[in-house]
Symmetry: C2
């Protein structure tokens, strides 16, 4: 049942840049398109916004449908509205970026229409549409924001070692950090709960495990505290 409008309209899509951290590299979740345009090419998960769902809902729905990822930190990134981003028609895309621990869930099985896989952010294949550009913007945002918001924890398992956390920050920021200074700073913030557990199955002295304490963070934030580096 077709709908009629007085003027031609732009369609609205959402596209999601899902970051994960694994194997000591920052990864991004891509899907392989089954349909034209760009059939066979890799692309960011995403799709058209339904008329009865919010943008956030659309982003979560597309992620669930196309990749199986459900539980994640999700934040709007930017809205891309170049005239020729989609060869079919005028499409405005509201881009989101998301952070997730890849070990925490299984990717959706491949279907006829789509297949999902992780790629290291510095080794992504050519992407459909303007998705390479969107990815670049998302990376810049992540690198900028991770310095003054405790986002890094979203990419790690619930329990992690201080060295693991440091490696993550080194990977995202692209610079080595001093071990003693890093630990001093992080611990001084009192955002971490020290657990009575150590990592398992390592061929050397095991490191103590820590947990991010969301409630402490919220309490501190209300008192004007600012996370930094």
């Amino acid at each position: 049942m077709p709908y009629t409008y007085e003027y031609p309209r732009a369609a609205v899509t959402v596209d999601c840049v899902v970051f994960g951290y694994d194997a000591a590299a920052l990864q991004v979740l891509l899907i392989q398109r089954g349909l034209a345009p760009f059939a066979g090419a890799w692309a960011l998960p995403g799709g058209f916004v339904h008329v009865d769902e919010t943008l956030d809902d659309a982003a979560r729905r597309e992620l669930r449908e196309e990749t199986g990822v459900t539980d994640l930190y999700l934040e709007q990134l930017y809205t891309f509205g170049a005239l020729d981003r989609d060869p079919r028609e005028r499409v405005v895309s509201v881009a989101y970026y998301a952070l997730v621990d890849p070990a925490h869930f299984a990717l959706a099985a491949a279907t006829d229409a789509t297949r999902a896989a992780w790629f290291a952010v510095d080794a992504v294949p050519p992407l459909a549409f303007d998705h390479a550009h969107i990815l670049a913007v998302a990376l810049a945002r992540l690198r900028g924001k991770v310095r003054y918001q405790p986002l890094g924890f979203e990419l790690l398992p619930e329990k992690f070692t201080l060295t693991g956390l440091q490696r993550l920050y080194e990977t995202i920021l692209g610079t080595p950090l001093d071990k003693r200074n890093f630990r001093k700073k992080i611990l001084a913030m009192e955002l971490l709960r020290e657990l009575d557990e150590v990592e398992q199955d390592v061929p050397h002295r095991a490191a103590r495990l820590y947990q991010f304490d969301e409630s402490k963070y919220r309490a501190l934030t209300e008192r004007g505290f600012n996370f930094e580096l």
Copy 2:
């Protein structure tokens, strides 16, 4: 000539939060709506995005048409997609925020359809749609961003005094700043060109005028320099 689509679609609008600085207060530019919905109410300037213009172009066009403002710093803010933001139909709004020196241009004359005026940001009338929310988000962004990007200069005349610049920052940030420390810091950045001119028509010793040096800023930025406070 109506257009037909398979599914109902969201319409796309742009809305602009235009900040100005005058009379020692931060101001926002509003228009009074002539048409339903919200006829007579004040609202952010904005309107529907044409199918053959980018989002940025649409924002600039609406500003020109509705307010007469043409030359300004304009940046995308956030995209609002709640289901009921517009009582007529589903409308997704890409919001922009803009900075301008109000003294630099004249507001567009009132027409049957619209009338533009400045309001102090802490004394705006009730706004149409979700525009009060959009304004709040824009203010938060401005307050956050002004600390690490030299945005303040966009709100001032080309030539300004150091005290004027300090007052602006105090107004936006809502905190008093130390005069000597402020001057030291700003001058140490070497972003300002010191002019051989002083302010005119003041009933006391006249202050020296300075000018923001955009090219110096770009040069420094490329070398990893970061504006702060």
